[in-house]
Structure formats: C-alpha cells, structure tokens
Amino acid sequence: MNTIDPPPPARAVAGPPPPVADGAWHRVHPLTPAIRSWQALVVVLVVAVQDAGQNVLRQAAGSGLDDGGPDAAWLRTAAPVGALVLALVVGVLALSWRMTRYRVTGEALELRHGVVVRRQRRARLDRLQAVDLVQPLVARIFGLARLKLEVAGGSGSSIELSYLTDTQARQLRNHLLAAAAGLTYQTPQAPEAPERPIAEVPVPRLIASLFLDGGVLVGIVAVTVVIAAGLAVAGVAASAGLLPAALGVVTVLWRRFASAFGFTVTVSPDGLRLRHGLLEHRAQTVPPGRVQAVQLSQPLLWRGRDWWRVVVNVAGYTGRGDNQRTENELLPVGTRAEAVALLALVVPDLGIEPGEDALAVVAAGLDGDGRCPGGYLTSPRQAVWVDPIAWRRNGVRVTQEVMLVRRGRLRRRLGVVPHVRTQSCGISQGPLQRLLGLASFHLHSTRGPIDPVVPHLRERDAADLLSDQAVRARRARRTAPPERWLERPDSTSDRTGQPSAGVTPPTA
C-alpha cells in the first residue's frame, strides 16, 4: 500500500472532525424522513391550510350556521382520524430512521435498514465502480446530500446513504475512493484529490444541442404541425386534447436541460468527476479502469458544429429509472477536441502500432468510411442490400488493446471497448445475411447504452474476429491492472492528476 504524507487540509473545517472510517455504526441525518417525504408533507400542509382557511372564511361569512351542519360533524370525526394517521406516518418514518445505520471500515461500507424486514448490505470497496453525490433541491436547501455507491453486482446492488450533511458526504466519498484505490492516509480525513478541468458545457451550446438533436426536433415539429392542423381544422377545443403530447416534449427537453445544466468534467487521481444539474446537483466519480465501454456519437444536425456526445458503460450505471441516460453521459455535448480528450482519458492506451497516428485512427472512426484509410475492417459491397444507408460506415478496427467499432451514417457512432473489458462475444446471421455471405459480430459489454455490434461483415471475417477476440480478451485479462488502481509497485504516490495518456489529446 502506498502511504502519502499528510497534505495540507483540503478545506477549512471548523475544529478537527472525527475520522470517517471509525468502524462504528452511525445514523443518517435526522432530517432524512422529512426530506424523503417532503412532497407528501407539502400536500398535507396545503390541505390543512386550505381547510383552516375555508373554516375561517365560513365563520366570517355566517357564524352560527356551522355548528349543526353536516360539514362540522364530518370534521369532528375526520380531524382525529387524520391526526392519528399523521402521527402513525410520522412514527413509522421516525422508526425507519432509527433503524437505518451505516458503518465504514477500511475495506467495506455496510448499511443496515428496515423496520419489519431487516436488511444488511455490505459493499466491498475494492469492487467499487462509481460514487455519486446527489443533492436534490430540498436537500440542498438544508445542506444535505445523498451518497450513492455502485458496486458491480447487477441491478439493485448499489448502496445509498441518504441523507448526510454535505461535509460528511464529501469526506466519506474521499475515504471510499482512497480505500478503493488502495491508499492509506495519516490525517484523520482522507485528502481530497486535486482536480484538473477537462471540459465544460456552456449553456447556449447545451440549449442549441438539445434543439438540434434529431429525436427532440422531430417531436417538436410533429407536435407543432399537429396542433396547427388541429387549430385550423377543428378549432381550439380539439387541439387542447393534444396538450399532453406537447407537455411530454417539453418535459423531456426540460429534464435533459436541467440534468446537463452546468456540466463540468474534471480529472483527478480518483478518476473522472462529473458535476451537473440545475435543481438537483450531482457529482459523479468514475475511478480509472471502471469504464467498460465508451462511445462518441453525433446526431445529424450537430455535424455543422462538429459536436459530439460521449457516453459510457459503467457496471452499476444501468441507465434506467429517473436518471435515464444522464447517468451514463460523460459529456452531453462537446467539441471534437473535448470528446477525443475524454476518450484518451478513459482509454489511456489505444494500443495502436508504433508509427501510426492514433488521432487519424480515431478520426477515421468518427467520420470516415470504407473508402478512407485507418485500418478498419469493413462491410463488403453486397451489404448494401441489407444496410443501404450505412454499409460503408460499418467497420471495426482491432488494436493491441481495444476494439473500435464504427457505425451509423446519419447518426455517427464510434464505440471503443478495451479487450480487458470484453465480457463475451458472438456472431449472428439472419437468412438474408446468409444469402449474401454476411454475418454480424457482437461484443458483449455490461448493461448500459452501448451495445457494440459490427453488422454485416464477411462470414470469414466475423468468424476470425470471434476466435481471435476470445484469445485477445484472455491475454488482456491476464495482464490487467489491479482493481485498486493506485496499488501498483511502480506507481508513485503523487496525486497530481496527470493522466498517462497514450494518445496526446489535442489542446482543447
């Protein structure tokens, strides 16, 4: 294990705070139940205020009428029942808070919770895939944050600590990352790793990118046309029925805007750190070597400005639920230089032959096709019958370390999967492909937005890829770097945030 000297305190903290990893059981913040169920509380409060207001109004209007009325009788029975229900709910919430405890040790994070069914979950820190700090608006007002720890174990294997104070959560995150990296420290607090900015998304660019994205644009145009037609033909009443569709488009736009607002990417020895969110702040940390696959993509209308989106597959980031597709986004929109720089950080070694230009290979993957060099294995001409638009773009380049998968003519995509992250692979062939002597090669990555498939290769090429990839992946796994990424005999213990990039990223 590496030991680092006590660095100067990362932040000014009032008084020496107790160490995080003391191995004792702690409770989460007492405001947690209130913040978790704030919507319900607001509803109750609004109803109560409304009721009281009505009563006051009624009494002011005609006093005396109220006493014998059916309303009053109803109120007399409803009020105690309501109070009882409220007390019960508060009691259950308080009990569930009391039963929620967590413990941090050098190797693991443990969480106990549950009132009726007790659950205990233990996450080994060397299996840690990502750590997120999430601050919904209400939590932010109270200075609280939720800590989400992803470990590789399929869906539902993450541990969420909600809520901790902002400081606690950050200290805990620093400790978890240091422990996961195989680093020990002398100070009571884990030092916060220094960060180096890589990219940020200006708001005008974000807005423009949202409106230029194909799906959203189609949605807007379709809804506008339909509403206009409705107005012209059947008047206002008919178009009112289309309001939900319009609202849907607006909601999608708003969600993506709010989640990608203020997006910044920095790099530190802890890995990539992504910060974003307008109302709900999110600070994600993806440690080195946790990215299973990365993909650069470009919708048709971004081509003029040469903007690219970068998404990743990370075990545990399933891309489902309320943070659909934002969780896996490394960069919602960025210039080509930024996207390539990120690719170089995530996949430090493209394993390209000496003497070959790595940037040219990546560029050929981004916007080249079968007619330009770059060493890509492409679909043969007969693929035009099954893939008339994109057949020239289909291609795969295999290097010592990674597989680059190029696809898409309208929406260009370049996926990169390190051999060491290959889960399994396969080939498939449909009846038409069989007639044409074609087969598709599938590389299986962990659950996420990227599904690397090389469609319509020559049968023999696909078969060779399959047998060779199995060997390559096996060889790569044998020489894989350790899970604890700073625990390396040759590594120095400086946390300067300098990545060892095999590809020199163009200056952004």
Partner: protein, 172 residues
C-alpha cells in the same frame, strides 16, 4: 487482420463451425417435450374441428382442420431441426453455445467472466427428465443457455463451469 487469418478450415462460408471444436448436442427428449407442448394442442384443435365438421355438417371446418394439422406437422419437423441445431462445446478457456436455423448465433463465454450458473427445470422439463443450464456474465447480452440437458449432465456442467470459473475468475 490478414496476418492472423486461419488456413483452410473456415472455407465454405461456414462461420458457425469453428475448427478444432468437439460439439455436444442436447438430448433428443427436448424435441419430444417441445412437440408435446406445441403439436399436441394443435392436434386436439384439428380433431375438434373435424368433429364439429361431422356433427354440424359445415364443410369449411374441414379446411380449418387440415390447415391446423399442416401447421402441427410443420412444427413437428421444425422442432426436430431446431433442437438438433443446439450445440455446445467446452473448450480450454471458454464455453461455446450455438443454435438457430434461420437466425443463427454463436456465443463464446469465457469461464473467467461467468458470474453464476443457473440450472432450471420446469414441470414439463422434469416430466421428460430435462434441465436447462443458463450462464450469467456481467453483460445482459451474453445470455447463453443450453436447454434440454440430462439432469446429470446439467449438474456436471454446472459444477465444471463453476470450478473453472473460479480458477480463471477476473474482475470486471
């Protein structure tokens, strides 16, 4: 790429026959099980249709009966071929599973990537003494499974996969 090309084995455009692989098939009882669950209801339907045709004297019901019977016999034939197309092979470091007639696939799952192995046997499977072995990796796409194994063979395969996986286990 060209340097790593193999010699003549893959000639003939047969990408689903990697060289030096000893394939094992699945039990022929899988075909019986599938025929019972698919063809038997169809045959009963055909019998019912012809019975109605006789009782009610409606001519076109005969057509229905014939069509259903034709479907049942086509299913009978296809199921046999489909079941024969299921093959698996244990290699030194990985397991190969291939299947399909019109849409054919081969999946190569390294032992070191297996997270866990499931053995299923439903009521029909048990009646025909069959079991299904399903492999799980960290990927949702590599769901390789082998249906219609002898229960002993399934247990052997499970234990063997588990022990080989342990020996070669790699991180994600």
């Amino acid at each position: 790429m060209a340097a790593t090309r193999r010699p003549a084995e893959a000639v003939g455009g047969e990408p689903f026959q990697p060289p030096d692989v000893a394939w094992s098939g699945v039990s022929a009882r899988l075909a019986s099980a599938r025929r019972v669950t698919t063809c038997l209801p169809l045959a009963l339907l055909a019998i019912a249709a012809s019975a109605l045709a006789v009782l009610l004297g409606v001519g076109w019901l005969w057509l229905v009966a014939v069509a259903v019977l034709a479907g049942a016999s086509w299913a009978w034939w296809t199921i046999g071929r489909q079941v024969r197309s299921w093959r698996y092979a244990e290699r030194e470091d990985d397991l190969l599973v291939r299947h399909g007639l019109l849409w054919r696939t081969v999946v190569v799952v390294p032992y070191g990537r297996m997270q866990y192995v499931d053995v299923y046997a439903g009521p029909v499977d048990r009646a025909f003494r069959l079991a299904k072995v399903q492999l799980h990796t960290a990927s949702a796409h590599s769901d390789a499974y082998i249906p219609g194994l002898n229960p002993q063979e399934a247990a052997r395969l499970r234990d063997r996969l588990a022990s080989r996986g342990e020996a070669r286990l790699a991180g994600l």
